[in-house]
């Protein structure tokens, strides 16, 4: 009895503290969040017509597309962004053979040591090296990019909400601000050195627009429209973030198929074992 009385007292006291000191003042000043006075970013991402080929439980990589995406990364993004968790040997997964990977790696320079003097220098990469960073350090990266560091892209499509669609939207999101929304947000401006991008959380991004028609010449002859390049490089970055994506889903089908089979058997043996007991009342 005592414990229940004590409990009721403690419960009422705690509730009183909560209601009188937290809830009541909160209710007095109750204010629903106003529409932000600044231009709000677009949370709904766009995607290519028909979606990406690797999406959905049955999606797989399109090696041609990954190779094109790699070309976009190499010729455009790698000027500012590293891929520090991806090694050149991983490119074999894109359909290149060992010799091609070796040759491709040699096109890149990575930090090395002069074998004669021991001084820091650069050397051509080998397949076991990882993609190098374009900047020697963060200070240099900031200095070259209006005080913003271009983030490493290895994990980008997993590091943002709805990441694959986000990266695609971001690359194509350098639109003109909507005049109506601008009128509603007096604080809106795009400072010099930043670029309006409605998918970036901050609306103004330090990365200049990247994709222009025919910016690169695809080695497989595909026409290099901004949409095409955005789709390809996004596919490539989805692969860098999760090289096991397709293997994972294929393994999943196998495992779940087996489990369905096993569970049906388990269900039948459960029914069989219990069949001897009297049925439940109806």
């Amino acid at each position: 009895m005592t414990i229940r009385l004590a409990s009721i007292i403690v419960g009422l006291a705690l509730t009183a503290v909560l209601v009188l000191w937290s809830l009541a003042p909160g209710l007095l000043n109750f204010a629903l969040p106003e529409d932000p006075p600044y231009y709000a970013y677009q949370e709904e991402n766009i995607q290519p017509a028909g979606g990406f080929v690797f999406e959905g439980p049955l999606g797989t990589w399109d090696e041609q597309q990954l190779q094109r995406g790699y070309q976009v990364y190499k010729e455009v993004c790698s000027a500012c962004h590293s891929l520090k968790y991806v090694a050149f040997r991983n490119l074999e997964q894109l359909g290149y053979n060992e010799a091609e990977v070796r040759a491709e790696a040699a096109n890149w320079n990575v930090p090395g040591i002069d074998p004669l003097t021991g001084e820091a220098t650069t050397r051509p990469a080998t397949p076991t090296d990882y993609f190098p960073s374009p900047y020697p350090n963060d200070v240099a990266a900031r200095a070259a990019n209006n005080n913003a560091i271009p983030p490493d892209l290895s994990l980008m499509t997993k590091a943002r909400k709805d990441g694959t669609h986000y990266v695609y939207s971001l690359l194509l999101g350098y639109n003109e601000p909507d005049p109506e929304d601008v009128a509603k947000s007096p604080d809106f401006e795009t400072p010099a050195g930043l670029y309006f991008n409605e998918y970036f959380y901050n609306i103004n991004i330090a990365m200049p627009p990247q994709l222009y028609p025919d910016l690169i010449t695809y080695s497989d002859g595909t026409e290099a429209t901004p949409e095409q390049m955005a789709e390809d490089v996004t596919a490539f970055l989805t692969w860098t973030a999760e090289p096991s994506l397709v293997e994972r889903k294929q393994t999943g089908w196998f495992v779940i198929g087996f489990l369905f089979f096993a569970t049906i058997l388990a269900f039948l043996s459960y029914k069989q074992v219990w069949a001897g007991l009297k049925p439940k009342k109806t």
Binding site: W21, L32, K158, A241, S244, K249, V255, F260, K280, K281
Partner: protein, 460 residues
């Protein structure tokens, strides 16, 4: 102990006889989860979750030990070693996704297991000790999961650890030195990461020990059941094996299908994208939230927004932060007192009309809301809502439950489990398929120790 009619282990071969004499482990298993453990015949699927929780613990230990072979607890490289597991270790991605989603599924299972206990009042005599040990397991599980989430050293790892360890700073006087001592510095760093790894490795084995005690305590009164009427005679029970091993096998199959679906097709859905960004003490994420399974407690923590002051003097008695910490820990600690707060002699919610209403229309929606609010942005209307539901949470356990258990008029209970299942009792042939020797003397009606509901304690 067991019921008088429990089957006895009989070693057959010379080898098993030899083992049984020297170290009777097979006998232990036979009595714990084999044919030697008589279980009520009417358990529903809510009784599958104990075995599933045990499975989750084993799963976490197996995947965790493999991960630990490739992981390094150093802030310089921790994030990178996790990526190394994901990319270079054979099937490392599978191990990591299984471990991460395994934690989530462990909590799903445990929450269902706990709410089963709350609805059927499994915490009541004679099962108080099972319940108390269960709450200890839950606390251990929360600590383990929290420290595990810090290990990949992503943004949420770091900032989550910073917020939660910062709570110790709310304790008056000793708070700050205590926090620095626990974390090994002013903010989580290498020292913290190392001790978290050490403890994250250790605690599951401690948990396994407490689980053994939990099951030991369970085997003294035996399992409860959906009627809440205690076992009276042999026809009320079936041997655990093969009846419940078969049913648990089916339950495990369903569990594994759901679990592997998440692991192989939606492995990052329950996680937070920010944790794929390496920890950066200089850049605060827009919204710091823990993993989903802590949301209700996080909502309670954040509900206290005002200091407790003496009105019109401005003297602060207890700071809001400390109130939140007290309430957050208190919200779990109240579970320790449940067996003594709910005095109704009837166990099952099915026979308790008032309790039933408050459970389904009060506690369950309240928990649902707290789950949602813990992950919401700290702005209105979420703050006021979390205050209202936090208040209900405490009122439910501390005020409503003691009162309804006093005033409620329960519905009539079935005489026995057999009657509940078959609609009649004591008819010839009503004995179970498992009872191989249906003798009339299997009823234990004359033993002392009658419960208020007319049921009996099994003989020790």
């Amino acid at each position: 102990m067991s019921f008088a009619w429990a089957k006895q282990y009989e070693p057959k071969s010379a080898f098993t006889k030899w083992v049984d004499e020297k170290l009777p482990v097979p006998r232990l298993v036979y009595n714990a989860v084999g044919a030697g453990y008589p279980v009520p015949r009417n358990l529903n699927y809510m009784w599958n979750f104990g075995v599933l929780a045990g499975f989750c613990l084993v799963l976490q230990i197996v995947t965790g030990v493999v991960l630990a072979m490739h992981y390094a607890a150093n802030t310089e490289v921790a994030f990178g070693t996790v990526e190394h597991i994901m990319r270079n270790v054979n099937y490392g991605w599978m191990m990591r996704y299984a471990h991460a989603n395994g934690a989530s599924f462990f909590f799903i299972v445990i929450y269902l297991h706990i709410f089963r206990g709350l609805f059927y009042s499994s915490y009541k005599a004679p099962r108080e000790m099972i319940w108390l040990l269960g709450v200890v397991i839950f606390l251990l599980l929360m600590a383990t999961a929290f420290m595990g989430y810090v290990l990949p050293w992503g943004q949420m790892s770091f900032w989550g650890a910073k917020v939660i360890t910062g709570l110790f700073g709310a304790i008056p006087f000793i708070g700050e030195p205590l926090q620095i001592w626990l974390v090994g510095g002013y903010a989580p760093d290498n020292a913290a990461l190392n001790r978290f790894f050490s403890l994250h490795f250790l605690l599951p084995f401690v948990t396994a020990g407490v689980v053994i005690l939990h099951i030991w305590a369970l085997h003294i009164p035996g399992s409860s059941n959906p009627t809440g009427v205690e076992v009276k005679k042999e026809s009320d029970t079936v041997p655990f094996h093969p009846y419940y091993t078969a049913k648990d096998g089916f339950g495990l199959g369903i569990f594994l299908i759901l679990f592997t679906f998440m692991v192989f097709f939606l492995p990052n859905t329950l996680g937070h994208p920010d944790n794929y960004v390496e920890a950066n003490p200089l850049s605060t994420p827009a919204l710091i939230v823990p993993e989903w399974y802590f949301y209700p407690f996080y909502a309670i923590l954040r509900a206290f927004t005002g200091d407790l002051t003496i009105p019109f003097t401005g003297i602060v008695l207890i700071e809001a932060k400390l109130l939140g910490v007290i309430a957050m820990f208190g919200s779990i600690l109240v579970w320790f007192f449940l067996p003594w707060l709910d005095k109704s002699p009837v166990r099952s919610g099915h026979y308790r009309p008032l309790f039933n209403k408050f459970f389904w229309l009060g506690l369950m929606p309240c928990m649902g809301a707290l789950f949602y609010l813990g992950g919401a942005k700290p702005e209105e209307p979420y703050i006021v809502l979390s205050q209202i539901f936090t208040a209900y949470y405490f009122l439910h356990f501390l005020v409503i439950l003691p009162i309804i258990s006093q005033i409620e008029v329960p519905k009539p209970l079935p005489f026995s489990i057999t009657e509940a299942v078959l609609g009649s009792d004591d008819k010839p042939g009503s004995s179970t398929g498992g009872g191989t020797h249906p003798k009339p003397k299997d009823a234990v009606k004359d033993l002392p120790g009658r419960d208020p509901d007319g049921s009996l304690q099994p003989a020790e």
